[in-house]
């Protein structure tokens, strides 16, 4: 579904990732783990078109998207749950969700997905008319995921979604990721919380200082001594 070949992405002037190659198949849950500053977020921004990709090639569903503007990638079915949530702070919960479904033309399908999102996160329905910035951190994260789902995406990129959440919400968010995966949604998950990420993922990549070091099944990575030592606390 998604194929990245020898891609360099710059973060401003600074080359954050070098000659990265990886694939995500339809329906897969793939994770990229690595330390802070290894370039994980930059990869997602490069895939979304928020940072420019100087070399290499990104293909999504047989289409070359390397230099495509962000909004067109969104219209092909890629979406991002950004680091730090980045909700539309002055919009209500419902307006945020409606904005998430911006590109869709079938009003009844959007309404159906709105109900589905509310079923998935009942708290959002309760808070429907509240302004986004008044929500708690966990609720905001659920709204950010809900907003991404409203686009009915083919591929969801998730950036550090457990960062800064209370443990109770971390579990809830990972349960949500698992259930989305079971429904067949394709997910690329970037996480500092390697233990949790590997527990839900099918496959994983380990990123260190802008390069991919190891690729394996998630289970294999979780028992790999190098991964254990560096990311799972021994």
């Amino acid at each position: 579904m998604l194929s990245v070949e020898k891609v360099d992405v710059f973060y401003g002037e600074f080359q954050a990732v070098r000659e990265i190659s990886f694939q995500v198949q339809g329906g897969e849950l793939v994770t990229i783990i690595g330390a802070n500053g290894a370039g994980k977020s930059t990869i997602l921004k490069g895939l979304m078109g928020l940072e420019s990709c100087e070399r290499g090639k990104i293909t999504f569903q047989e289409q070359d998207i390397t230099h495509m503007p962000t909004y067109q990638r969104a219209r092909l079915g890629i979406t991002l749950v950004p680091e730090g949530r980045r909700l539309f702070q002055d919009f209500t919960v419902e307006q945020n969700l409606v904005a998430g479904g911006y590109t869709r033309t079938d009003a009844s399908a959007v309404e159906r997905d709105l109900q589905r999102t509310y079923d998935l996160f009942p708290i959002l329905k309760e808070r429907g008319h509240q302004v986004a910035k008044t929500l708690s951190g966990g609720e905001q994260q659920m709204l950010a995921i809900g907003r991404a789902l409203m686009a009915s995406p083919r591929l969801i990129l998730m950036d550090e979604i457990s960062l800064g959440l209370m443990p109770k919400y971390v579990n809830e968010v990972f349960n949500t990721i698992e259930s989305l995966h079971r429904e067949g949604v394709t997910i690329l998950l970037v996480e500092q919380n390697a233990r949790k990420a590997l527990a839900v993922a099918d496959r994983g990549y380990v990123l260190e200082t802008g390069r991919i070091l190891i690729e394996n099944e998630a289970r294999g990575l979780a028992s790999d001594p190098r991964v254990k030592k560096a990311y799972l606390g021994g």
Binding site: R86, F88, F91
Partner: protein, 285 residues
């Protein structure tokens, strides 16, 4: 007497709001101060007058002006601001000030340094309620600004375009992640803001029956005071700020007969309000 001044103040204030709206809309999406916006306002007055001299119909002149000034706005966005956006904010600001001065000189070279009359009669007639007399031209200003503001309100709060515009001004990157063509939304902000400024130019030209090259100078900095007062990027705040300054100027100077520089009042009001509300009346932290 006070109600008469009130009507005068509202008329001036609503024109201020119309001019300042474009400034706040551009600031909202690009976070730059579009000083040359006041040049678009003066351009509007000249275009309106030119059309009016060929076909003496106020409404036609207004319509053509709004189309022409929205084109001017889009050209500025594409050829002046778009190439400069990656640079530090001070660069587009200086370019904008430079362009504004250049525009004033171009108006002077083409139309001459004189004050030109704009004797349009929109054919509305005045209204008299007891002691308040709303003149023909005041009625015109109210009618046009209220319909334009109502249209803007409708677009911003009831349409998908409005949703996209508000989303883009809150977070441009994330708006594009939602599939919004943010380049087009930025152009739309320039288009709407410039059409409103052009309309304001025609209204002021007719209201004071005068069009001249530097007519944008005072609105250029007064609009700045208004958007800071209202809260940078806030559309309702800008309308409120415009009305407040228009009313304040007219009421204070019309009632207290002191030799006070009228145009300084906008800044005095701005400073006083910012002392209590640093983010402006309806601004966000």
């Amino acid at each position: 007497m006070i109600w008469q001044q009130f009507a005068n103040g509202l008329a001036i204030g609503s024109v201020y709001a119309l001019i300042a709206l474009g400034l706040t809309m551009v600031y909202g999406v690009l976070r730059i101060l579009h000083i040359a916006h006041a040049g678009v306002y003066a351009l509007g007055a000249y275009v309106g007058l030119l059309v009016f001299r060929f076909i003496p119909n106020f409404w036609l002149a207004l319509a053509i002006t709004m189309v022409a000034s929205s084109f001017a706005g889009i050209i500025l966005q594409r050829y002046l601001y778009a190439p400069l956006l990656a640079l530090p904010r001070i660069v587009p600001l200086i370019a904008s000030i430079g362009l504004f001065i250049a525009m004033e000189e171009i108006f002077r070279l083409i139309a001459g340094p004189y004050i030109l009359a704009f004797p349009a009669d929109p054919g509305l007639g005045g209204i008299e309620w007891g002691i308040v007399r709303i003149t023909n031209n005041q009625f015109l200003v109210f009618l046009v600004t209220v319909s334009l503001l109502a249209t803007l309100w409708f677009v911003m709060s009831k349409t998908k375009l409005g949703l996209a515009m508000k989303a883009t001004s809150q977070d441009l990157e994330i708006a594009s992640v939602m599939g919004i063509n943010t380049e087009r939304i930025i152009a739309t902000n320039f288009l709407i803001g410039s059409a409103l400024a052009g309309a304001a130019g025609v209204l002021v030209g007719v209201y004071f029956n005068s069009v001249y090259p530097t007519m944008g100078s005072i609105p250029a900095y007064k609009a700045l005071a208004i958007i800071v007062l209202g809260g940078l990027g806030s559309i309702p705040g800008t309308v409120l700020g415009g009305l407040l300054i228009g009313l304040g100027e007219t009421l204070l100077l019309g009632l207290i007969n002191i030799p006070f520089p009228r145009d300084a009042l906008a800044f005095i009001i701005m400073i006083i309000i910012l002392m209590f509300r640093p983010y402006g009346l309806l601004g966000k932290e």
